[in-house]
Amino acid sequence: MTAAADEDLAAGFDATIAAGDRIEPRDWMPEGYRKTLVRQIAQHAHSEIIGMQPEGNWITRAPSLRRKAILLAKVQDEAGHGLYLYSACETLGVSRRDLMEQLISGAQKYSSIFNYPTLSYADVGTIGWLVDGAAICNQVPLCRTSYGPYGRAMIRICKEESFHQRQGYELLATMMRGTDEQRAMVQESVDRFWKPALMMFGPPDADSPNTQQSMDWGIKRHTNDELRARFIEMSAPQAAALGVTLPGNDLDWDEFWRIVKGGGPCNAQRIAHRKKAHDDGAWVREAATAYARSPR
């Protein structure tokens, strides 16, 4: 290919981004754009899959049949989100199998929020309210992200996430109308999850070197600090209506980086769980492949 043809492709790409239109899998894209997308979508997909564990921890102990059904359906939705996102990632030329291996090896990351333990049933509600809530703030702008398959996956996902947030909040509101022990359980849970939820927006803008390039490419649409401020503003009246006190907003970024680097309370446990499920299922996947190839 000539240098002039290359420049034409790059100009076409830039024009598409500038017009706010979507880039599709067959379109030319800069290698840096492709790599950034793979990293971001894979990390997002892995977060959905690892995110099944903290709440999945309570499925077998859900205290009512209605809550058991709601929780099981929610965790199942997260598996579905993982599926959509792995599919979006596959349009960029990487396989789900490779991505799963990179998750298990630690080569690719997932959201640090899932490295905190769930210690009471109230955590199911708090995760829905604050963690799905923060995810929505992060993700709704991504419905308009420049890469078509990612944006379309996000539209489906955001609808379900907003349902999860409502259900989580509704659980907490119900528990707050219950016994004193239940109210204390809700407050204790919010105390543990508030700051980790705020950290879901990522490091402060000053320490987020990739933000500007991602914004120029239309992959990201708001800075971390903008989104975090919006979330705090949004949560205050919800907390008041619930009757809980939100802890302060001062964040310990050393803790954040420690967890990102693998030193959180549950990092090893979450990966070991995923690895075990993956390894235990290897013979089933092999059988399915062999059967699909066998003559009928």
Binding site: G20, D21, I49, M52, Q53, G56, I59, T60, R61, P63, S64, L65, R66, K68, A69, L72, A73, V75, Q76, A79, Y121, I136, C137, V140, P141, C143, R144, C158, K159, S162, Q165, R166, Y169, E170, A173, T174, M175, G178, T179, E181, Q182, R230, E233, M234, P237, Q238, H273, K276, A277, D280, G281, W283, V284, R285, E286, A287, A288, A290, Y291, S294
Partner: protein, 277 residues
């Protein structure tokens, strides 16, 4: 570009009375249904029968929910959760029906407890009060054993539910009518995997044989059923698998596994007998 998905974001920023500050109504599983006892039906027997059918669904739903986040691939994870959700739905209707037919089956709770009857039955009965068969309470085993159990159980349950279309109680008929569609899907999902594992690799075939032998002797604890047997024979033939040489398991009690399962299932509910969830 279509911007209507942005409204979800906007909706969260404002005082949205539809969810954040509103009261969630507790949904009565039998809302809108006629729960009077039909003429000629013995209420105690009806309640007891609904407990049998409801407990089977509840216990198997619980076992299948243990797979969530642990299945061989995401597709199977979603499918097993789907089956568990269907069975949970059957259990809620049937337990609630048992309680409306004969309120004396519901264990007593402290005065003022808001726990609904379906949950009192699920979470506040002891193991010896459960009416489920052994088949559903056995531990999951590996994926092959789980597939064998779902195949055997759903095949038997489907044959039964088809006959329940003629049951005198309207609630039982409604549960059966809905359940027939669900169970046909569960059976077909399991049959598809049964054939796949049988014709997959040496290892999958070995595991399938082991799994089938584990559950086979428990399949007719509610009586042998010629319709179900014929379907099972067809699936085994399609898979090229011989029926295991295992006789019926003779037992009138639960296995050791049920009380351990219930200890986990009931722990939070029992710690808060006056709790609202």
């Amino acid at each position: 570009m279509n911007d209507d998905h942005d409204s979800a974001y906007a909706g969260l920023l404002v005082d949205d009375a539809h969810w954040a500050f509103g009261e969630a109504a507790h949904d009565d599983p039998l809302a809108g249904m006629d729960t009077s006892i039909p003429a000629g039906v013995d209420a105690t027997e009806l309640a007891s029968y609904c407990l049998e059918l409801g407990d089977d669904a509840l216990v198997l739903a619980h076992r299948l929910s243990e797979w969530c986040g642990r299945a061989p691939d995401l597709e199977e994870d979603i499918a097993l959760s789907n089956i568990a959700l269907d069975l949970l739905g059957q259990a809620r209707l049937l337990l609630t029906r048992a309680a409306t037919a004969d309120p004396s089956v519901v264990p007593p709770l402290p005065d003022g407890s808001p726990v609904p009857p379906e949950d009192a039955l699920a979470f506040f009965r002891d193991d010896h009060q459960f009416r489920n068969t052994n088949l559903v309470e056995l531990p999951n085993g590996d994926f092959a054993e789980t597939i064998c159990r779902v195949l055997v159980w759903a095949t038997y349950r489907l044959a039964l539910f088809e006959r329940l279309a003629a049951h005198p109680d309207g609630v039982v008929r409604a549960v059966a009518a809905k359940g027939v569609k669900e169970l046909a899907y569960h059976r077909d999902f399991a049959a598809q995997w049964f054939v796949t594992l049988a014709r997959g690799t040496e290892e999958s075939r070995r595991r399938l044989h082991t799994g089938l032998a584990q559950v086979w002797g428990y399949r007719h604890q509610r009586g042998e059923d010629a319709v179900a047997e014929a379907v099972l024979a067809e699936v085994l033939a399609a898979a090229g698998v011989a029926a295991p040489d295992v006789g019926p398991v003779a037992t009138s009690s639960h296995t050791e596994h049920l009380s351990r399962m219930l200890a986990e299932m009931q722990v939070v509910a029992r710690a808060h007998p006056r709790g609202r969830w």
